[in-house]
């Protein structure tokens, strides 16, 4: 049976798939994706993929034209979206041959949409860590890169999670308490404080903060039930804060936790967020991004499991690959 990708503007249908699929996060929610489109100037293509007349999955694609080229993304850059890409329905229940045939059909139909109908020169997808099979992309000549995350199983209870921490992390938490750091839950408005701290940290490192504050505020307002803000104060002053996303049985540390003079405060805030998550029935504490050596060393103190995910990209032609190389050079070394 033939596969085809179709644009759908049925938000309810889209969100039903987001709930049903094992490859989704809060990022896949229709409202989040529309905010990206409205706020950040990317064109959103909400693709539903059908096998015959049966929907088998969704694939949110964004595009933007620049310098005579059209670029397609899932997710687009500077949106704070860690992964997006395809979300399949009933995937885990299928046998491997059916799984592969559906995934292959889905990827091929989206590839055709992006390069033939949309006329894109470049397409990048960061797939869900729950989707381990990227062979259909390989067979279509995509470049595959690895992305790493951490996930901590907190279903075994607060005490066991605490015992699993590296000794250094436990000591740091105790020191933070002794030094008078106080933990509290924040309000959506506190995103501004966390943002400013991150911006300051980026500046210290000679980097620009490219994510937009008004976009973050809108996301926090829109998902106020699913987004939790944790703060750490000393003498009434916020010294650090993190923003976490709650989705299904996991809570994901999203942004914040900028390195500051308040030594040990970040250890405390993660521990308090983990405790809060345990008390509120979550099973997993997810930490996006474990692929940077320095950050991985901090995050691994909590004894999480490593999760491998994939980033896939394809260029229409070799000169687009060269252009990307020049762009990266500018971004990384000239801070353009």
């Amino acid at each position: 049976m033939r596969f085809h990708a179709e644009i759908s503007h049925d938000a309810n249908f889209w969100n039903e798939i987001v709930i049903a699929s094992e490859h989704t996060h809060l990022f896949h929610r229709w409202e989040w994706l529309k905010t990206v489109e409205n706020r950040l100037g990317f064109k959103f293509h909400p693709l539903v993929i059908y096998k015959g007349s049966t929907p088998v999955g969704i694939y949110p694609v964004f595009s933007k034209s620049k310098y005579f080229y059209k670029f397609a993304f899932s997710p687009p850059p500077y949106t704070g979206i860690s992964y997006l890409g395809p979300a399949l329905v009933d995937y885990a229940d299928l046998k491997e041959d059916k799984r592969l045939s559906i995934l292959k059909g889905l990827v091929e139909s989206v590839d055709k949409f992006v390069f033939s109908e949309l006329g894109a020169s470049y397409f990048l997808t960061n797939v869900s860590p729950n989707l381990k099979d990227v062979r259909p992309y390989k067979w279509l000549n995509y470049d595959i890169d690895l992305i790493f995350h951490y996930i901590l199983d907190i279903s075994r209870g607060v005490e066991n999670v605490w015992k699993g921490f590296k000794k250094e992390a436990r000591e740091n938490v105790k020191k933070a308490i002794k030094w008078g750091f106080k933990f509290e839950m924040g309000e959506p408005d506190d995103i501004k404080t966390i943002y400013e701290m991150l911006k300051g940290r980026y500046k210290e490192q000679g980097l620009k903060m490219k994510i937009n504050l008004s976009y973050l505020r809108e996301i926090c307002d829109l998902f106020s039930d699913s987004i939790k803000i944790f703060l750490c104060r000393r003498d009434g002053e916020v010294v650090t804060g993190i923003v976490a996303l709650c989705f299904k049985d996991r809570i994901s540390f999203w942004i914040g936790g900028a390195k500051s003079d308040a030594k040990y405060a970040n250890d405390l805030i993660h521990w308090e967020a983990i405790k809060w998550a345990c008390e509120n029935g979550f099973k997993y504490y997810e930490e996006f991004g474990a692929g940077t050596e320095r950050l991985a060393r901090f995050k691994s103190k909590f004894n999480p499991d490593l999760v491998v995910a994939f980033s896939v990209k394809k260029y229409r032609s070799f000169h687009v690959r060269i252009l990307e190389g020049i762009y990266k050079l500018g971004r990384n070394y000239l801070n353009i």
């Binding site: 046998k95 592969l100 390989k138 690895l146 050596e293 004894n303 999480p304 032609s317 070799f318």
Partner: protein, 338 residues
């Protein structure tokens, strides 16, 4: 951490025994045989290799190893693991288990281990190109990336045998079960004898499905006869296909065999099923259908509905090789994989 070339079987095997990602290909005897037969086609010339059993010590304690094979020709040096021409899908580093250590410590050790190997290789061999296919079981590929390697996932299929054989059978696709039953009526499936090997080899050679020498296979069979179980399919008294399985630890692996058969019905599904049945009867926990990569073979292999297991292809270019590779991509044109 320091790196040494270690010829001691005792040290090598102590690492292999303590490494959860160890395979039969990592056995020192297997590696030495591979080194004698491995060749690489270099600008029209068959080039042999030199084997370096690199061991990493933390203080006095060996914590990991890399079987490295070096091919040199016309100023170009390739460091491969596994080497070419010996039909190994993967090999790469061995890394011992630290059962009582926390993950952060294990991650640290693995990073230091790989940095030590990378530095040793660069200083002592300065290869133009390094290509390693790790064995399944190494999930933390970050140290490779952090040392400047390109890393890509590769896949193999594993059938969980800790279930009733009936359940494994029902997991097979309906069309495959039908084909297997049909093949039972047409072919005689039996255990292979040593003399069947050359018949199977000839068929595979004709189909372009094998790239090693018969002598190499013969020596592997002789040395590892306790680790090998093979079956052949006969049609009208003639061997038309076969399968060679390797046995190691709790796992039986389809290694080589199953060439295309020019008959209306293929015996290959039933040969693979016979191997699974045998592995289950002998009490093994896992049957591996090696390599789930080839696009041409996936319709057959995926019908066994096995689980995917990931391993990694890890490569690094020297400056000259990087330039050559870029030129190749420009010449080759659009949408080439890296």
């Amino acid at each position: 951490m320091n790196v040494e070339i270690v010829e001691s079987k005792e040290i090598w095997n102590s690492i292999l025994d303590r490494s959860s990602n160890g395979t039969l290909f990592h056995d020192l005897e297997w590696l030495k045989i591979s080194a004698r037969y491995a060749t690489k086609n270099f600008l029209g010339k068959r080039v042999p290799c030199k084997f370096y059993p690199l061991v990493v010590f933390k203080g006095e304690e060996p914590i990991g190893a890399l079987p490295a094979f070096m091919f040199k020709h016309a100023g170009i040096k390739l460091l491969l693991s596994p080497p070419h021409g010996v039909e190994n899908y993967y090999l790469g580093p061995l890394f011992v288990e630290f059962p009582n250590a926390k993950r952060s410590k294990i991650e640290r050790y693995f990073l230091d281990f790989w940095k030590a190997i990378d530095e040793y290789v660069a200083t002592n061999f300065s290869p133009s190109y390094i290509l390693i296919h790790t064995s399944p079981g190494i999930l933390d590929a970050r140290p490779f990336k952090w040392c400047g390697y390109y890393v890509e996932p590769r896949y193999t299929y594993v059938v969980d045998l800790n279930r009733r054989l009936e359940d494994v059978w029902l997991q097979l696709s309906r069309s495959l079960r039908r084909d297997i039953k049909k093949a039972w009526k047409i072919f005689e499936i039996r255990s292979a004898k040593l003399e069947d090997l050359s018949a199977l080899y000839d068929i595979m050679r004709k189909r372009g499905r094998i790239h090693c020498s018969l002598d190499y296979l013969g020596e592997i069979f002789k040395t590892f006869n306790k680790n090998i179980v093979a079956f052949v399919a006969e049609f009208e008294g003639e061997v038309v296909s076969g399968i060679v399985n390797l046995i190691y630890r709790n796992r039986v692996q389809f290694w080589i065999g199953l060439p295309r058969v020019d008959l209306p019905t293929s015996p290959n599904g039933s040969l693979l099923w016979s191997s699974i049945e045998w592995a289950k009867a002998q009490g093994y926990g896992v049957y591996e259908i090696m390599s789930a990569e080839e696009y041409e073979l996936f319709p057959f292999k995926s019908k066994f509905n096995a689980n995917l297991e990931i391993y990694f292809s890890v490569r690094k270019f020297g400056a000259f090789a990087r330039i050559l590779s870029c030129i190749r991509e420009v010449v080759k044109g659009d949408e080439v994989p890296r």
